[in-house]
């Protein structure tokens, strides 16, 4: 197998006496969806923050496309090809759907220092943004203010903004959160296709989605990966059952 697109090696991060991520090594290979599951407080958010650049690990490293990006900023990692969606929609609520998507194409272009020409009049920026909106089915709402979108539409826009970056790897923090059954199903179908473009590290509570999508699952408990494997392996693992489901195996 070729080198992983995204990998962490022995990541460790402690807050005082609490070790939030304890020696975590995971990887994400081309074409796969690797799901991270675990109970609340297992350290999923801390792990994501270290992968995306919001938090610096105490030790260990993060590699993107074979390059050590541990000391790179969030911006540098995004430029290197890491696309992220947030658990709680982080969108410019006063701006329109299209403007939010254009922010993504602007980031992808790497040329924000233009003060004269109108952003909405820039064809390159606009085409890229509209293509992404089209893919998530938000084209009709392009001129709607983001603040008046429904929760589900905001989740779609989150994904669209990440798409404009044409990333080499996605990190998605609970993309299904708050979506109804129908919305989850649609997004599940979409992510299923998306993995062929770029692999997805998926943190998700919605077990139906995880079981339907994941090529591999890693189970995180108290900051440690207690098991990594295919859906079937994880399902039948006694350790996982005991730790995650709280059963005495």
């Amino acid at each position: 197998m070729s080198d992983p697109i995204l990998a962490t090696h022995n990541l460790r991060k402690a807050f005082g006496a609490l070790t939030a991520t304890d020696d975590i090594s995971i990887d994400l290979n081309e074409g796969e969806i690797h799901a991270i599951i675990g109970p609340n407080g297992a350290g999923k958010s801390t792990l994501i923050a270290q992968i995306c650049g919001g938090l610096r690990p105490d030790s260990g490293s993060v590699h993107l496309l074979g390059r050590d990006v541990t000391s790179d900023s969030t911006q540098a990692r995004a430029q290197a090809g890491l696309g992220r969606t947030f658990q709680i929609s982080a969108l410019a609520m006063e701006d329109t759907v299209l403007e939010n998507a254009i922010l993504g194409s602007l980031g992808a272009s790497g040329r924000p220092w233009r003060f004269w020409q109108a952003a909405l009049g820039d064809r390159t920026l606009r085409e890229r943004a509209e293509a992404a909106l089209e893919r998530v089915g938000l084209s009709d709402l392009r001129d709607t203010r983001c603040g008046s979108l429904s929760h589900g539409q905001r989740r779609q826009l989150e994904v669209a903004v990440a798409l404009t970056l044409e990333p080499k790897a996605f990190v998605m923090d609970e993309p299904m959160a708050g979506l109804g059954a129908e919305g989850s199903k649609l997004l599940t179908g979409f992510l299923d296709q998306l993995r062929t473009e770029a692999p997805i590290l998926l943190v998700e509570h919605d077990m139906d989605a995880v079981l339907a999508l994941a090529d591999r699952i890693s189970v995180l408990v108290y900051g440690k990966v207690i098991a990594t494997g295919t859906v079937d392996e994880i399902r039948s693992s006694p350790e996982v059952r005991s730790a995650y489901l709280g059963e005495d195996a």
């Binding site: 995004a78 696309g83 403007e99 922010l103 602007l106 992808a108 790497g110 233009r114 820039d122």
Partner: protein
């Protein structure tokens, strides 16, 4: 509700019409009042770029207003006393030429804004407000103790500085000059707000985390906005000093920084013509109510209170039905 463009056009036309009527009626003082409003509007447009688009609540924008004022004062002082200005390794002559003074005022304000921005943008919220306030006070006390240029008493310039081809002492000509600068600044502001930079800055105010994850640096965007903002307010300072033919440390005072913020809130935060409405109303109140009572700020305070409580979009918001940006 009135379309925003129409409100803007009416304001713009009004700013031309009032001084022209005053000219016909031979009321030079009214022209001077409108000029004062125009210059304060330029300063507030400058602040609005940092505050309204970038979300940077700077309580130290008087620094740039004062720097512009002192750039004019110092250069004109050396010109009127025929003494050279000694800048360490470099000795230059003073000047009474407005274009040169404006260049100096914008350049020094931009430079100082860059330094202040680099230091203060590490913080946000109340800390940012406090740091910018602290810088304002530093400059204020420095000006007070700078006895070469009048210290606390300030510095008078006997003849207004010149502009090629104009007699700037004639109120309507100086008004015209200030008005053209306001128009240019508004035009630049409109372009900037719609540009890729403006879009990114606007997002950096609302969701810095998002801006980072698309690979842009929100801090750097805000720093550039702060520099542009400071430069424009500095230019306004030079004009203001020329209007009064007088510079004093009060141009650096925190009250002035506060007034600029009040102008924007009353007019409409983040709206292109918000600072213009605010400045016109401010000067009108200052003149009319100031003639009735020394405590006219009470009424300004009541208006501010009413706007903050009932009309978050300022007067522009009331007229157009659009909210201001949220800082």
């Amino acid at each position: 509700m009135i379309p925003e463009r129409l409100v803007n056009a009416i304001l713009f036309a009004g700013l031309i019409a009032v001084p022209l009527c005053a000219l016909v009626a031979d009321e030079p003082f009214t022209i001077t009042l409108v000029t004062r409003a125009v210059i304060l509007a330029i300063a507030a447009v400058g602040l609005n770029i940092a505050l309204g688009i970038g979300g940077l609540v700077s309580l130290g924008h008087a620094v740039f207003f004062g720097l512009g004022g002192y750039a004019m004062g110092v250069l004109a002082f050396h010109a009127q006393t025929y003494t050279p200005l000694n800048l360490g390794p470099l000795t230059i002559a003073g000047t009474k030429s407005m274009p040169l003074i404006w260049l100096a005022a914008t350049a020094i304000s931009a430079f100082v804004a860059w330094i202040i921005g680099l230091l203060s943008l590490r913080t946000s919220g109340v800390y940012f407000i406090m740091i910018t306030l602290a810088f304002g006070q530093m400059f204020f006390y420095f000006a007070i103790s700078w006895s070469t240029y009048g210290g606390e008493d300030g510095l008078s310039i006997y003849v207004r500085n010149g502009f090629p081809g104009l007699n700037t002492l004639i109120p309507i000509q100086f008004f015209g000059l200030s008005f053209i600068i306001l128009s240019v600044v508004l035009f630049l502001n409109a372009r900037l707000q719609a540009s890729p930079f403006g879009l990114a800055l606007n997002a950096a105010r609302q969701v810095p985390a998002r801006v980072e994850t698309v690979g842009l640096n929100p801090m750097r965007l805000k720093l550039v906005a702060f520099v542009v903002s400071g430069a424009i307010t500095g230019l306004a300072g030079a004009l203001f000093a020329d209007l009064n033919r007088f510079v004093s440390p009060t141009m650096f005072s925190w009250q002035l920084s506060g007034e600029l913020i009040v102008l924007i809130i009353i007019g409409g935060v983040g709206r292109l013509f918000g600072p213009v409405i605010g400045a016109c109303l401010f000067v009108t109140l200052e003149h009319w109510l100031g003639g009735l009572t020394d405590f006219w700020h009470v009424f300004l305070g009541l208006i501010l209170l009413a706007i903050v409580l009932f009309a978050r979009g300022g007067i522009m918001g009331l007229l157009t039905g659009k909210e201001g940006t949220h800082v």
